[in-house]
Amino acid sequence: MKRRNFIKTLISVGILSQIPLGLSCSRDNKAIIIPKNEVLKPSQRNVVLFFLNKLFPENNGVPGIAELNTYQHLNNYLQDANVDIDDKNYLIKGISWIEESANETFQKEFKDLNYEQKQELFKQILKEDWGESWASRLLTLIFESLLLDPLYDVNLQQSGWNWLHHIPGNPEPDEQNHYKKLLAAKTKPEIITQISQL
């Protein structure tokens, strides 16, 4: 997919359906947990982490992407068979366009840029329609990691909720009604004839 076409698809698929994605970057991040079953290559991870930290830096009292475990959330998203493959591909394609842009602008790979160059690239990309759309998806994933239930290994120690003084709903989800369990119920053969089966 070319960058321009990609914007079109994004506007129609991503924004309207509010399908998620997130990120950010500061110089001295807290340690990011690298998922065991990581989908992205280290070079791609590098790009994503820079953007995640930039979009949502850790600040006075504001939890950063390490505390929110955003990268793990993004990895889960990429592995979720219930998430549309085009949406996942879109996220990954965005990374390669950023890598291309690094080459076009600085004739260097993203990993070889210094902090100032990365910063410049970030600003330049956000001025592009495709870049803004892609970053917006990352922000949606960041927001999910900020505000979804810690059951999903995000919003660690409720740091997102605490920061925004958000009161979660009751009951909170648990292992019994975990997203994956409910998805599994959708393919369960069952015939119910008695109340005791419920």
């Binding site: 930039k54 979009l55 949502f56 504001v62 009604n177 069952e190």
Partner: protein, 567 residues
């Protein structure tokens, strides 16, 4: 028991779908001792499966199908006046609602209003409107009144009857359940309305405020619409009707059974309903009577898919009426921000109180006077409610600055913090009559197929300009009230884009088979054992949300079926 065993039984009634339109028939027929089987395309989520999990409720496809597997095609008019059809897999314009036992009624907010006597005869009461296919109902308000009352008791409706200009005639003095607890803002709304010489009324809810059998009263969870209820206070058809039907021993529910074909082996009789099992096998059910209640769009789709030599254009469709005159409960939305700093600390604290409801509606403008002709015309309803507490969705709406640029970093974080802590958004929803037109209908798409290879529903979503005219009049009134009560950043949006969760029509009822699919008892004119009991029967929808009427009508049809079976 397995799927093959089921196909050996001849049931009295086979019901397709299990939502608001299906529940009353399932309940009444099981209670009366008839053998009922329910084919439901989604799973049976138990009450313990529901929690306040935003990931499940709104962020991923759990209660609705994945659009890659089961797309629908939406046809919209572009600025040049051309109709453009696009799969919602590409656009995300999802017209699926709750697909599980109990259907969307599990996830509704339960704002409940009756239609008014004149809503049953819109054409005679207000006259023709060019370009709209308005027709009177073949029944009157009086025919439905006892069933509205039945819903109040069986589903459980809470509220308080207050005399007002458009109060519907009632056979009982008040609701069986007292009003739910209210937020302080309801008093502010009443005061602002009264200053403007308007009368606000308490909005009834399909939520019980006191325990009822094995259902517990509402505990004000703060996450109601789009979420399943953990106390069973919400009047879903699953807890209020189907669970009760199961207790009779006469009801069999087959979840994850997607019906794709109704077979008619005689010109006037359906004999079998074919469905896919979760493993993808094709099975069937035999029954004496078939009742379809798959929600308006999918009901029309199923009939259109069920072609045979007697019905080459789809079941009950020899007059080309199936799918036509689809309607929505719509009008517009708007709101304004209540900044805590604009109130005393004590009042601000009360406004911030989560869980308790707004439950206010304005029906003062249910009838309007046309400024040009001076004639009476149909107006609508304005409901008030808090912005949903869903935090991810709230955050997403803060992503952009006033010029439409993406915010990030500290600016974004400051905006988020302020939004979550400095204010509460009060919203309003406007409901006008969505006029039925030739440009709002369901057909089958000839290219796009679902994961089983079946043609998907193509939904043309045109609207009548009159809807916008009335919507704008009401939006102006709502904004006036918001201003009076001290809201800031007031906005409203009136559009012809329909809310996908409030659908009806497509198989309207009437006395003339040339212009309707169903007779006045919601039996297909052309078939002697096929009924439709979801919102599809409605030729017009009144200016309120539909579900109370859908429930009530399904109870009425259940009585008609019982009368027939007893004969």
């Amino acid at each position: 028991m397995n799927y093959k065993d089921l196909s050996k039984i001849e049931f009295d009634i086979c019901v397709i779908g299990s939502g608001a339109g299906a529940g009353p028939v399932i309940y009444e027929l099981s209670k009366a001792g008839y053998k009922v089987v329910v084919l439901e395309k989604g799973p049976w989520f138990r009450t313990k499966d529901f929690s306040k999990d935003e990931l499940v409720a709104t962020r991923r496809s759990v209660y609705t199908p994945n659009l890659k597997d089961e797309p629908q095609v939406i046809e919209q008019e572009d600025v040049m006046g051309n109709w453009k059809a696009q799969s919602n897999y590409e656009t995300g314009n999802d017209f699926w609602n709750g697909n599980c036992v109990g259907g969307s009624s599990n996830f509704m907010s339960g704002y409940f209003s009756r239609l008014k006597p004149k809503d049953f005869k819109l054409l005679s009461a207000y006259g023709k409107i060019e370009g709209a296919n308005i027709s009177d109902w073949p029944i009157a308000y009086e025919d439905l009144e006892p069933y509205y009352t039945k819903v109040e008791h069986l589903i459980g409706v809470s509220g308080k009857v207050v005399k007002h200009k458009f109060l519907e005639p009632r056979s009982t003095p008040d609701f069986p359940y007292p009003p739910l607890k209210e937020n302080y803002v309801s008093q502010l709304i009443d005061k602002a309305a009264s200053d403007l010489n308007l009368q606000t009324i308490p909005l009834p809810r399909a939520i019980i405020s006191q325990n009822k059998g094995d259902r517990n009263a509402c505990y004000y969870s703060n996450y109601c619409g789009s979420y399943g209820c953990s106390s069973d206070a919400k009047g879903s058809s699953r807890v209020s009707l189907i669970r009760e039907a199961l207790k009779t021993g006469n009801c069999t529910v087959v979840p994850n059974a997607k019906v794709f074909y109704l077979e008619a082996d005689a010109p006037d009789k359906v004999s079998k309903a074919f469905y896919y099992t979760p493993e993808g096998a094709k099975e069937f059910i035999r029954a004496k009577i078939f009742v379809v209640a798959a929600q308006a769009v999918e009901t029309s789709r199923l009939l259109l898919m069920s072609k045979n030599k007697f019905f080459p254009n789809g079941l009950a469709n020899n007059n080309g009426q199936v799918g036509k005159n689809l309607i929505f409960s719509a009008g517009g939305v708007g709101g304004g921000d209540l900044f805590y700093k604009d109130f005393s600390e004590k009042i601000a604290k009360k406004l911030a109180e989560p869980g308790v409801f707004v439950n206010r509606t304005l029906q003062e403008f249910y009838e309007l006077q046309d400024p040009k002709s001076g004639k009476k015309m149909k107006g609508g309803t304005i409901d008030f409610l808090w912005e949903h507490a869903n935090p991810v969705s709230k955050a997403i709406r803060q992503k952009w600055d006033e010029n439409g640029n993406l915010l990030y970093g500290t600016r974004l974080q400051n905006k988020l913090y302020r939004y979550f802590n400095d204010l509460r958004k009060l919203k309003f929803e406007i409901f006008v009559d969505w006029l039925p037109t030739d440009n709002c209908y369901v057909s089958l798409d000839d290219k796009v197929k679902d994961k089983w290879g079946d043609p998907v529903a193509k939904i043309r979503i045109g609207h009548h300009p009159h809807d916008i005219k009335i919507g704008n009049i009401l939006a102006e009134k709502a904004e006036m009230l918001m201003k009076k009560l001290g809201a800031k950043n007031i906005y409203s949006g009136v559009s012809g884009y329909p809310p996908s969760n409030l659908q009806a029509g497509g198989c309207r009822f009437g006395n003339d088979p040339a212009t309707s699919v169903l007779d006045k008892n919601c039996k297909a004119h052309e078939l002697e054992n096929l009924y439709v009991t979801d919102g599809s029967f409605m030729p017009t929808g009144g200016s309120v949300t539909y579900t109370w009427t859908i429930y009530a009508n399904s109870f009425r049809v259940a009585d008609k079926i019982l009368e027939r079976l007893k004969r």
